[in-house]
Symmetry: C2
Subunit: 354 residues, 2 copies
DNA sequence: TTAAAATACGGAAACGATTGCGAAATAATG
DNA sequence: CATTATTTCGCAATCGTTTCCGTATTTTAA
């Protein structure tokens, strides 16, 4: 005799793989449709039946198959996130922001790292074309010039959002920080501290953030009556070693800068490494400011003046808008606009001689 | 007249949402089964037909629906990764390692951050019970003592793997570094540098890594004839501010240590912050060594002696084993064992007085 | 008391792919 | 030429849900 509280033997072996709705219905002597409705708390089902169904579902450890559900409903409650780099405080914080909202709303995150490689980016985007995710939020790689793959993704109809390194050609919403103003203010700060020859360090000329930050840098320089020498804008690469060498060469040259605006954190750190191999003193001989989201700028030697992006907020806003669009398509729209959230400059020892 | 190179009008509106196999078959005047086999390069289909099908699939921009496929095949080519913290160099590197192998093998990654919170961990694990992923690799949160949710996940039959912070009770494969030896060697190094009273900093007594590293620390101390005072083992928490205060209190006390073994990076950094508020000099008055995977240990003030874990390798090995198990279940087995990959100690200024 | 409305549930189709089986048409064999 | 293999493809079931209908039973209204 099988007690009602025991799991029937016939299910014991299949339990590992999970029980289906149909089997659950069979056990309850109900139709699958009824069980489905009961579990989804439909008004068509009596409270009594609901209780029974829910209890049995728990007893048999029932979990609805997500693929069947996704197939039927044509949505997966999954968002794909594509970033160019993972070992990076900015992107990690953005991810945390996205995930915070996603978890609240019951959304899952597929995460992809392109390693700043367009080819990888294209492969990943093509993979996403089959509808594994309901939406995509991304920051393009530094090598992305051809954007046909992004165009295709956009035309596929998936809600698509950009942040930080955006793709202007795609008519959707983008979240960035006030790149121009921050770079302008940061450069101005260097000038106020006495810098006459300021170098601009970048990882790629093509990047949206590079262009904007460079524009801010240029305007500040010109406004101060200084001249922006071509040799002072240094286009770096992916290899840390090479970057250190490039920066070293600049520091050893006769025409060396007395100030540096690093458009990304890694280049400021490369500069620190390069400086270590010289007699140059920071901030006395060289002042440095950098876009950076590291928590330990204050522990560096010397502590680093930073332009900190609102990374967490950017992530949260991306997720809010995207999930809003997914859950209430009528109320939200991914219109072609750039939303700017300001950065914060924190002045530390690397720019002020005591 | 519709040219063969044009997309028939009737599909133009549905193209955004994607075309189905059935529609593709209709257009080709073939049965869905034939089209499916053609696309999957079945021997049953003539080369001629295959060409036609593939060309038409490309023309109509066909992409197979992953949910239908997953439902039918009962697998999703997706691996779930659960980590306790994202803004953390170690975990970021592990993730990169996992993703490297996963991308090679065409696997996707669902990533979850528990923020060191057991309740979140439980929710996430329960979400995974419905088969969204084919396998799970995780590092448990520092607050995890009740492991019933992990047990349930394991019993569900999903291949499950642990790394770094492992759960000994679950009989599966775990990847860690040589926590005991590294802590032993690191502590011994402090002793050799003259430390007599060494403090051990941890984030949770329950963690596997804490226990092992503490054991190594203790053995090194006892072996050297020193005594391990209870006040010298400091159990820190999640809040950076509180940790700095805890460490500050220790540093200001009469009974202050002359050496510190930090079992995780964030506690070494908190120590640096705390030291900044005192007159204490590193390494003259206090020497510090820490488990850490930061790339800028050399840029800290002073540069930090580190025990660096093989994070990337750990990630790669996890992914290799897991995907091996998924693709060739007969050849791979997740036997109950702990695989150890050694760390590397890099001695810097924080432990050697010049 | 009878018609209308509300309640509670079952049957069956649908989502989009894969695959076992059957069956033509063609090729190979005796 | 008759028979058997081989090639090439179609039919239909299946995976596990959800949901549109239909219907029997009960309740409410007239």
């Amino acid at each position: 005799m099988i007690s009602i509280l025991e799991v029937p033997k016939k299910y014991l072996n299949t339990m590992a793989a999970g029980i289906s709705l149909k089997e659950l219905a069979l056990e309850l002597k109900l139709a699958p449709s009824t069980v489905s409705r009961a579990l989804n708390d439909s008004y068509e089902i009596s409270e009594e039946t609901k209780k029974k169904v829910i209890r049995m579902a728990e007893k048999l450890n029932y979990h609805p198959n997500q693929f069947a559900r996704s197939l039927r409903e044509n949505k997966s409650k999954t968002i794909a996130v594509i970033i160019p780099e993972r070992i990076n405080n900015f992107f990690a914080q953005v991810m945390d922001g996205i995930e915070e909202i996603a978890q609240e709303q019951g959304y899952h995150l597929l995460v992809y790292n392109t390693h700043e490689d367009v080819d990888r980016e294209k492969k990943i985007v093509n993979l996403l074309l089959n509808g594994r995710a309901d939406a995509v939020v991304m920051s393009v790689s530094s090598q992305t010039s051809d954007i046909s793959h992004l165009q295709k993704l956009y035309e596929r109809g998936l809600p698509l959002l950009f942040f930080d390194r955006i793709c202007a050609e795609i008519p959707t919403t983008k979240f960035i920080t006030n790149d121009y103003e921050s770079a302008y203010d940061g450069t101005k700060h260097l000038i106020q501290q006495g810098c006459k020859k300021i170098a601009f360090l970048m990882i790629s000329k093509e990047l949206s953030i590079t262009k904007e930050r460079y524009r801010g840098y240029l305007d500040a320089i010109n406004e101060a009556g200084l001249t922006a020498e071509p040799t002072m804008s240094l286009n770096c690469c992916m290899s840390e070693e090479e970057n250190i060498k490039l920066i070293s060469d600049m520091l050893w040259s006769d025409n060396r800068p007395d100030g540096i605006m690093a458009s990304v954190e890694k280049l400021a750190l490369a500069t620190y490494q390069a400086v270590k191999r010289t007699k140059i003193r920071i901030p006395e001989d060289l002042k440095i400011i950098s876009f950076s989201n590291t928590a330990i700028a204050g522990l560096l030697n010397p502590s680093l003046t930073t332009i900190t992006q609102p990374a967490l907020t950017i992530g949260q806003e991306c997720a809010k808008l995207l999930i809003g669009k997914l859950t209430k398509p009528k109320h939200y729209d991914l219109i072609n606009q750039v939303i700017t959230i300001p950065s914060k400059i924190t002045i530390r020892s690397s720019t002020v001689a005591e």
